[in-house]
Symmetry: C2
């Protein structure tokens, strides 16, 4: 295909999505939930077909020398498909966000004003290897009344094609048009570019993946973007911290799952509590195989044999390791901690461990991020943990949605103003 | 200055804004309100100085042959300054949006989750001639805890410079840093470009002005943008319309104020009511000097002498006239009206006049816009009419804010999660 033909192909599916969105916005919850169950049924019924396609993707990735961790994320088997189908049914069980009255009141001239949730329209998802995102995103968009354009990793394109074919076929017997779910054609970078510039056809783009992917979408897109999931999270241990809680929270925040955005990448300790806290923290982190990238004052505590220690650099303060590494420093005051966090934060999650109400207030006033954890692990910044039931990503931008995004965050609003002939004087 | 020096100058004020924002986010309502009253006092005390500067701008615009309507918008006199100062005091009287708990609940593990409004940070305003926007925007941003970077029309730059100097001086005796309000240096288009690409320094850009200005900001910006104020509003007169209300609403929506975005630019009439409605509507519109750009079926009703009539073109259906012109057509069904609106709407305000609940529901389901008026004039889509007290613009995009934007729409949120040592299992 020529570039123009590629571009036309992308714009064509966007237009199909737009037509589907016209129908989707008028459907009842029941109509949408039935479609979601039909999708779950079809995914299970098509397990063999999906697994075969996935084998091809996995084999190609292996032949290309892809990292085993990435191959694991790419792999679908029967158990994972059951979990994916269950997640679709979970979405069906969630309340429909469309029609929710966000504000409602009357004004003196008798006009009745209601701000009501409506679907966005057409949502573009750009994401990396994991094919479960293909189904998750489709289910969440469908439930919120949006058409979705899916652009997964080219390494998963055989799997994604079959998943989308199966979902679209399942919709044929329902009131939801098949074009509610579409794969963006083409596996070149150009097809992403055409999607990013399909202004007027695509209402919002949600990139999910590494910092590079997200930055390229944010910089190159003329369609509005919601940035997600880049996390350089800090844990600050205040001088008024409960030591047991501080150690438990730090260890959990760093080690409970290292490859996710709400994992802690730096800890900062108030100097007044360093003697009591740092040796315990280093011992616990050592036991879990964590490498410490510490400042000179942390280094002074590194006496035990077997602690992996390296002097901290600016690259460390900036790093999202997604590994068993953590940057560490000692600060002379909460103000110094806040200043450090302001400099290096990605605006995701920042935690303070303290029993001082004053310190907590100062921390809240000083840091600017999607979520602040007070005496709790950074790992709680998550749609399921927040009770949203499902999440399409974690926004690290300030516009529209900040933090975990559930179904509500996939909607816009319309003011519905009801009068009885009112005119403006 | 070289381009680099210009760019540095813009980024420097953005950095100053960012520093001011760190202070602003922690101020109490009282501290901010005192600063607003100090600004209002200073504007009145500096009336002579402001009017002199404005004379220079007006003289330069007149010498350049500027349209008298634009010169009128540019002009500041004593009365207008009093109104501007009053508007600042009105903003002081509004509730502080910062700290508002949007959602608050506990989850099973005992975590207390609150979603709280916080300032955006640094807001960039790009706008056209009217210098009152300089003060309005500064007041609204200050009240919502944001630093503002103001980039007005170069034709008003002397006035804007004095207004900003006066406001900044007034802040010196308050707890609000002077850098809460800054003028973007430079009057070239490049200075706008530097502002639009100051990603990481500017949190949101709000362009206010004509379609060309807004499109150029949307296309060229890497900073998140909120589109405002482009309005191609329709009035649909359904077969079940009350004729008196329909005529009054149409006339009001078109003629009460022609130069604003919530003015009607097209009306569509159901064929079943055309005989009863169209002659009355044409007579009323004729009396107010309105030119009709109608389809062939409207043309059939143009019999009275003195009706200004022209055949409608696609340019008319697309037009935001901002003048005493209106496009008009007759449709065979509500569906046809909805299809027409979907094709030409700018997503601002669409009105239906009907006494049929079924028709109203169908209209709501079919059109996708910021505000839907049911038996009321399109002119009501307005922050003051909605009871917001003030408005920074009317968003016509779906992300973040849609419709009139008051103080709440100038905020983001942070999730504050309070625990007692919770870790994730």
């Amino acid at each position: 295909m020529t570039g123009d033909a590629d571009r036309d192909a992308v714009l064509d599916v966007a237009r199909q999505g737009q037509q589907a969105a016209i129908v989707l916005r008028t459907l009842t919850r029941q109509q949408k939930d039935r479609a979601l169950h039909a999708i779950a049924d079809a995914l299970l019924a098509s397990t063999d077909q999906i697994v075969v396609a996935n084998h091809s993707d996995v084999a190609a990735a292996a032949a290309a020398g892809t990292d085993p961790a990435i191959i694991d994320r790419l792999t679908l088997n029967r158990d994972r498909l059951v979990a994916i189908a269950d997640a679709v049914r979970d979405v069906a069980a969630l309340t429909d966000p469309v029609g929710e009255v966000v504000r409602g009141y009357s004004v003196p001239n008798g006009l009745d004003i209601r701000q009501v949730r409506v679907p966005m329209g057409v949502v573009g998802m750009i994401y990396e290897a994991r094919p479960n995102v293909t189904v998750d995103a489709a289910a969440l968009c469908l439930k919120s009344g949006n058409a979705v354009l899916l652009r997964g990793s080219s390494s998963a394109h055989r799997t994604n094609q079959v998943l989308v074919d199966v979902m679209r076929s399942a919709l044929d017997a329902t009131d939801v048009p098949a074009d509610a779910i579409n794969l963006v054609p083409g596996t070149s970078h150009d097809s992403v570019k055409y999607l990013m510039t399909a202004r007027g056809l695509v209402d919002v783009l949600i990139p999910r993946g590494g910092a590079g992917l997200i930055a390229s979408v944010v910089e190159g897109s003329t369609v509005p973007v919601i940035e997600t999931g880049v996390g350089n999270c800090h844990v600050y241990i205040d001088e008024h911290a409960d030591l047991d809680k501080a150690v438990a929270i730090l260890v959990n925040a760093k080690t409970q799952r290292v490859s996710v955005c709400n994992t802690a990448e730096t800890f900062l300790v108030h100097a007044a509590i360093a003697d009591a806290f740092v040796p315990r923290a280093l011992a616990e982190l050592k036991e879990r195989g964590v490498t410490i990238h510490g400042d000179a004052r942390i280094a002074a505590y590194v006496t035990a044999a077997g602690i992996n220690f390296m002097p901290v650099t600016d690259e460390d303060w900036a790093a999202e390791y997604y590994s068993l590494d953590i940057a560490a420093g000692i600060v002379d005051s909460l103000d110094d901690a806040v200043r450090h966090i302001r400099q290096w934060s990605s605006g995701h999650t920042e935690a303070i461990v303290s029993d001082s109400a004053t310190a907590i207030q100062q921390f809240i006033g000083g840091v600017d991020c999607a979520a602040i954890m007070i005496n709790a692990s950074t790992r709680f910044t998550d749609g399921a943990e927040f009770g949203f039931g499902a999440e399409i990503g974690i926004s690290t931008q300030k516009l529209h949605a900040r933090g975990p995004m559930g179904l509500s965050e996939l909607t816009s609003t319309t003011y519905i103003v009801t009068g009885d002939g009112q005119i403006r004087g």
